[in-house]
């Protein structure tokens, strides 16, 4: 079985390739926009003499590049997505790129589309948690965001990307497995999820308080993607991805300060955040947008309202956390400490 991994050179992509190799997949094609990232993957495959790694370099906006990458592929792990930039950039790199990939798949002749499985990496950002009560559980059944225009552009682009895949799945009948990842962290990743707080100038505003963080260590997340993505009964299913022993936002920040570096932080209790957000939103409207509405009541409720999480469904696929949270934190913070001059 030939397997395609898009975004294979990224933070998560490299780990997914590693887990695929470990699970015995030997015929892998890595789609890379930046070919300089092939080196790390080539190093990786040296430990698996039976494995064959191909590289498809190009752009997911190009139907020809997508078509070339899809040749003979029956399992696709779609990780490529926009991570930053304007809403238009995020849409181009997540939604439009995904549609180009699906359309190239539709146009493919040598393998029937119904025999192809796509494993899409989505995000917790697609859930409409702003409308939930504080502390409400978030599961795979939680309704999707009904007001994406009120959320951050990343969440909106991931929501639309996932909706697009379901629309095409209904039409084309390919197998679709969706993994909604929580806050993915690890060496080489970001230091703080927005769920912990926001850096404003020299001060870090700690807004997450004692909320649980749906943390997913990058190795564990990659394992979940491979295990759930290849489980036969997973077609048409959605899985939330996070680790078992979750930390609170306050615990994460406290350990960061202890193990990485001291940062100046101000903790704002949730009611204070809501009042601040309400005032900023009001000022934004009254001043006709003189300051951007970076903090609104809806965004505050979505990011810092606080929820409970369950990865029970993920466990039912046979997934087990590879790296314990204490070890994962140790690895991550050690990396951050060594590279802090660069951050």
């Amino acid at each position: 079985m030939k397997v395609l991994v898009t975004g294979a050179g990224g933070f998560l992509g490299i780990r997914v390739v590693a887990r695929l190799l470990e699970h015995g997949y030997t015929d892998l094609r890595c789609f890379l926009r930046d070919t300089s990232k092939a080196k790390r993957l080539e190093e990786l495959v040296k430990a698996y003499p039976a494995a064959r790694l191909e590289f498809a370099s190009g752009n997911l906006h190009s139907k020809a590049d997508c078509a070339a990458a899809l040749t003979d592929v029956s399992l696709i792990f779609h990780l490529a997505a926009g991570k930053s930039g304007s809403c238009a950039d995020l849409f181009m790199n997540s939604v439009i790129a995904s549609r180009t990939l699906i359309e190239a798949l539709e146009a493919r002749k040598e393998l029937p589309i119904e025999k192809t499985r796509i494993v899409l990496i989505s995000s917790f950002g697609v859930y409409g948690v702003g409308a939930l009560a504080r502390g409400a559980p978030v599961s795979e059944e939680t309704p999707l965001e009904a007001h994406p225009e009120l959320r951050d552009p990343y969440s909106y682009s991931k929501l639309r990307q996932e909706q697009l895949f379901w629309e095409y799945q209904k039409r084309d009948g390919f197998e679709l497995v969706v993994l909604r990842a929580g806050a993915v962290y690890g060496p080489g990743g970001g230091h703080f999820s927005n769920r912990v707080g926001l850096q404003v100038g020299p001060v870090f505003f700690h807004l997450g308080g004692d909320n649980l963080l749906p943390l997913s260590f990058v190795e564990n997340c990659a394992e979940a993607i491979v295990v759930a993505g290849t489980t036969p009964w997973a077609a048409g299913q959605v899985f939330n991805v996070h680790d078992d022993d979750l930390l609170t936002s306050a615990q994460y920040l406290s350990r960061y300060k202890k193990d990485v570096k001291h940062i100046r932080s101000i903790r704002l209790p949730y009611p204070v955040t809501r009042v601040l957000a309400w005032n900023l939103e009001r000022y934004h409207r009254r001043s006709l947008g003189q300051l951007p509405a970076i903090l609104t009541g809806y965004k505050a409720a979505s990011s810092w309202g606080g929820n409970r999480f369950s990865n029970e469904k993920l466990h039912s696929t046979g997934w087990r956390q590879l790296v314990s949270t204490p070890d994962a934190m140790k690895q991550t913070f050690e990396y951050f400490r060594q590279h802090r001059a660069k951050t």
Binding site: N59, S84, G85, F91, E149, Y156, S157, R160, L288, Q290
Partner: protein, 338 residues
């Protein structure tokens, strides 16, 4: 929002892009066919924000459908296309404006007033400086996408930003065809920031008219990222900082000998303090938006439509800028030093 105007529809050849724009801004209708939108909506004004190669065709269609047109810069890929755009608008009697927003910042408007009132005297020399941070999203997009539309323009990176450098010089230069010496290169400073691959990213231009000269500078590597204009006149020299939103006149040396060099810093400080306080006042009255110049320009454009007065960006200015740009690109891309 411009008073009296409402956005009725958005159009993008890519339906998903039109959709996200409509959803985010609560715009009632969206189209992926330009002709269908013109036909159904019959808008009074059309804002064209596509890449420049489509501007001429879209402008022609729009003015034929009775729309006034507001164009994003760069106006077109080639000067001949810009001429055709201006001709199409003039022939149809429709208003045309280009998004030269820095020219409508309060300080730039004030500079124009000083010039018109003769405070500066005759312009002797102009220095227009624009810095750009390519480590941001825009630079990343160009670097990552080898097919990015900016790469396909005759002037590549420069063409996307040079309007904002040259349009500030246009009002002070009487000559339509001044002499030009342009020099471009790719900076190789070893700075830990992403470059844009093989694209030239530093440009220096010397422009010489009959009575006035000018320097135009575009830099991707100088820090902090600057955006300034200095006008040397026969009576006064003015300095506009578009990032700091200040306009100050250089102090005259009113005292003899060393005393003459003692007081100017205090005079300059007082001028900057005044400007700062004025800005605080504007902020407190919500007249200090990030793109305040764009708000002013749009208000003037819609006002000129309602009153049938001249467009805030003149045809002469638009043509001057595009003509100079084309000549610069002909020079630097004929003989590049990468």
């Amino acid at each position: 929002m411009v008073p009296g105007a409402r956005v009725v529809a958005v159009c993008d050849i890519e339906p998903l892009m039109a959709e996200q724009l409509a959803v985010r801004f609560g715009i009632p209708r969206q189209y992926s066919c330009f002709a269908a939108m013109l036909d159904a909506e019959k808008p009074d004004v059309l804002h064209i924000t596509t890449p420049p190669e489509a501007h001429l065709a879209l402008t022609r269609q729009a003015v034929s459908a009775g729309c006034h047109v507001f164009l994003e810069k760069p106006v077109a890929l080639h000067h001949a296309e810009v001429q055709a755009i201006v001709e199409a608008a003039n022939a149809s009697g429709k208003k045309l404006a280009v998004n030269y927003w820095p020219q409508f910042e309060v300080q730039a408007l004030e500079l124009r007033r000083l010039y018109q009132e003769g405070v500066l005297g005759d312009p002797v020399h102009i220095e227009s400086f624009l810095g750009y941070n390519l480590a941001g999203d825009y630079g990343r997009a160009i670097k990552q996408d080898t097919n990015h539309w900016v790469r396909h323009m005759p002037g590549q990176l420069f063409q996307n930003v040079l309007d904002h450098v040259l349009n500030k010089i246009a009002p002070f230069l009487e000559d339509d065809e001044p002499s030009i010496d342009a020099y471009a290169y790719k900076e190789n400073t070893g700075l830990a920031e992403p470059d844009v691959g093989d694209i030239l990213d530093e440009l220096r231009v010397v422009i010489r008219g009959c009575r006035t000269s000018a320097y135009a500078t575009f830099t991707s590597h100088a820090r902090p990222v600057g955006h300034t204009l200095r006008v040397y006149g026969t009576r006064n020299t003015a300095h506009v900082d578009y990032n700091a939103r200040t306009l100050v006149l250089e102090p005259m040396q009113g005292f003899p000998s060393a005393l003459g060099r003692l007081f100017p810093p205090f005079s300059v400080s007082r001028n900057y303090l005044k400007q700062g306080l004025r800005n605080v006042g504007r902020f407190s009255h919500s007249h200090f938006h990030y793109f305040d110049g764009l708000r002013n320009l749009l208000n003037e454009f819609y006002h000129c439509i309602e009153t049938d007065s001249p467009s805030p960006t003149s045809c002469r200015e638009i043509l001057f800028v595009s003509s100079i740009m084309e000549r610069i690109f002909n020079q630097v891309y004929a003989e590049t030093q990468v």
